[in-house]
């Protein structure tokens, strides 16, 4: 960056112009992004490699499961319960306005929940909760030189820090998101029953959920579960600079794992649309 800026400066014989500075900025940004993408990719590959070939520490995965699963359960249940209520309330008021025929609401709702909403909204919540946690833990270890101490003991940080969280996250995200589907269905059913007088038996209608919806939903669960620990582990491992650095790492982990789930959701939804429904 400094070299580029220097060249621009020499070329114009003075302060670089606005456009030149912008260009240099964009170039530096692009280089940074490319470097970050390569590192992210290398962490992903190494995580996969060590998941199969790595050393196995007893209980590490279970502990990570506890940290990711049990400690997000209450949060996720509360949020998804409210999301279910909001969604059913909106659908029912809109349908009442147009046709007033509420007996297919439940079937359509559960189809949408399974295919998309439980996974997409739930995984954003998990990205916030779990991603921030992972980045904060690993980031604190980095700034207090514990990760370098690991390297001195010939332990690979990816193997030691990310792999257990990766395995745990893939399992627990799936479990939690299936639970989220259930929570949304129940809270939606109660809303429809209490506010719009839809009989729970009519609301609880799984006839529209087929293999295609299940496959799409479960693929999303697995993909999000894999993406969150990798992205936030990357943010944690690239921490520098004391308490402020840990804060920064956590922030980046939240934003980029949320964004990763939105991007993956887009890719999986589009692919599913063309494979199953088009």
């Amino acid at each position: 960056m400094s070299v580029e800026a220097g060249v621009v400066k020499a070329g114009q014989g003075g302060q670089p112009g606005w456009a030149a500075r912008r260009l240099a900025g964009i170039g530096a940004g692009a280089l940074d992004n490319a470097r970050a993408a390569r590192l992210l990719y290398s962490i992903f590959i190494r995580t996969l490699y060590y998941s199969v070939r790595g050393r196995r520490e007893k209980g590490a995965v279970l502990r990570a499961c506890y940290g990711i699963g049990n400690r997000s359960l209450f949060f996720l249940t509360a949020v998804m319960g409210f999301v279910g209520m909001i969604m059913v309330f909106h659908s029912c008021t809109q349908i009442n306005r147009i046709t007033g025929d509420l007996h297919l609401v439940g079937a359509t709702y559960i189809q949408l929940v399974v295919r998309d909403f439980a996974a997409s909204v739930g995984s954003m919540m998990l990205a916030t909760r779990v991603g921030a946690g992972i980045a904060a833990e690993i980031g604190s270890m980095v700034v207090t030189d514990q990760v370098d101490a690991l390297r001195m003991c010939a332990a690979e940080p990816v193997d030691y820090l990310i792999v257990p969280r990766f395995k745990a996250s893939v399992v627990m995200t799936t479990v939690l998101l299936v639970w989220a589907m259930f929570v949304m269905e129940v809270s939606g059913m109660l809303t429809a029953w209490g506010m719009f007088n839809v009989n729970p038996r009519i609301f609880w209608n799984l006839s529209m959920v087929d293999f295609r919806d299940l496959a799409t939903g479960l693929t999303k669960c697995l993909a999000f579960g894999a993406a969150i620990p990798i992205v936030s582990g990357y943010c944690g491992l690239t921490t520098f600079g004391g308490a402020e650095g840990v804060g920064w790492a956590t922030t980046r982990a939240v934003v980029w794992s949320c964004f990763a789930t939105i991007l993956l959701n887009f890719i999986i939804s589009t692919t599913a649309l063309y494979v199953f429904w088009a």
């Binding site: 949060f75 509360a78 949020v79 409210f82 999301v83 209520m85 909001i86 309330f89 909106h90 008021t93 809109q94 949408l112 295919r115 998309d116 997409s120 954003m124 919540m125 916030t128 909760r129 921030a132 946690g133 980045a135 904060a136 833990e137 980031g139 604190s140 700034v143 207090t144 004391g242 308490a243 402020e244 650095g245 840990v246 804060g247 920064w248 790492a249 956590t250 922030t251 939240v254 934003v255 949320c258 964004f259 939105i262 991007l263 959701n265 887009f266 939804s269 589009t270 649309l273 429904w277």
Partner: protein, 277 residues
């Protein structure tokens, strides 16, 4: 009553695992209830302190300007990206139904309704909380850990009016502005993707929005964004100022702040959905 008490006592004395586990669970639930009550109380006290700084107005305008600039600049790209994809996902999800019922005229209305009233404000607020709210918690937390807040106090400068009030105002204003912007981008993303995958003319798409939606639908989303801004601002400042214990403490605070913001956003959204219908 007395009998059950005695039984409890006996059960407590026995090294039975069930009663121990139950006791521990009850204790843990009690502790988290107390913790949540404490945090809610702390946030309300902070709100009171902030409100008092407006009578008479005691606001640092340089700091406000700096914060507005920083918050807007930092979150604009990520919010634009998120919004485009959210708009696109909406259309992808709708497309199966649209093809089934060939209801292309309603896509604009459906996407517009969901984006403007619910999804736009919520998702933009979540991203904003991750980007700006979390960053704010980290910054304030670092200032607490490195004694910079005490430094301000030692210079006879009120940390609330110098640090917190500008951030508070900045976040509420910026989230509002970004929601307006993000809603627009999401609608454009939906229109673009509708044309690409379903072949819906953008004219038809926007016709659906302008004809079938009321101005109130737009206002509801914007009112929500103001409330979300308030929630994010309060929780991020509160958890930032409450940091204890060095670098790990800052990480934990950021985590707690984004989680609290998310819960606050969804719970308040539920109630606003009723109240603003």
């Amino acid at each position: 009553m007395t009998e059950s008490l005695v039984q409890l006592e006996v059960a407590g004395k026995q090294p039975g695992r069930v009663s121990r586990g139950a006791e521990r669970a009850v204790r843990r639930i009690g502790r988290s209830v107390v913790g949540i009550a404490q945090q809610t109380g702390g946030i309300l006290v902070l709100l009171g302190k902030i409100v008092r700084r407006f009578f008479p107005p005691d606001i640092d305008y340089y700091e406000l300007k700096r914060n507005l600039h920083k918050m807007g600049n930092r979150s604009l790209p990520i919010i634009a990206l998120t919004s485009v994809f959210v708009g696109a996902i909406m259309v992808v999800q709708a497309s199966a139904y649209v093809q089934q019922f060939s209801a292309t005229a309603f896509v604009g209305w459906g996407a517009g309704y969901v984006i403007l009233r619910e999804l736009g404000p919520i998702l933009i607020a979540l991203m904003f909380s991750g980007r700006v709210g979390a960053n704010n918690t980290a910054e304030l937390g670092t200032m607490v850990v490195t004694e910079q807040i005490d430094g301000l106090r030692s210079l006879a400068i009120d940390p609330i009016s110098y640090l917190i009030v500008p951030r508070f105002l900045g976040m509420i204003t910026m989230l509002f502005v970004l929601t307006v912007f993000g809603n627009l981008v999401a609608l454009c993303g939906a229109a673009l993707f509708g044309q690409l995958t379903l072949g819906i003319e953008w004219r038809v798409f926007f016709h659906g929005i302008t004809e079938l939606l009321k101005p109130w639908d737009v206002y509801v989303g914007l009112i929500k964004s103001l409330v979300f801004g308030l929630i994010i601002a309060l929780s991020s400042c509160y958890f930032g100022l409450a940091v204890r214990g060095g670098a790990p403490g800052v990480g934990r605070a950021v985590n707690a702040s984004v989680v609290a913001s998310a819960v606050g956003i969804f719970v308040s959204d539920y109630f606003m959905t009723f109240l603003l219908d």
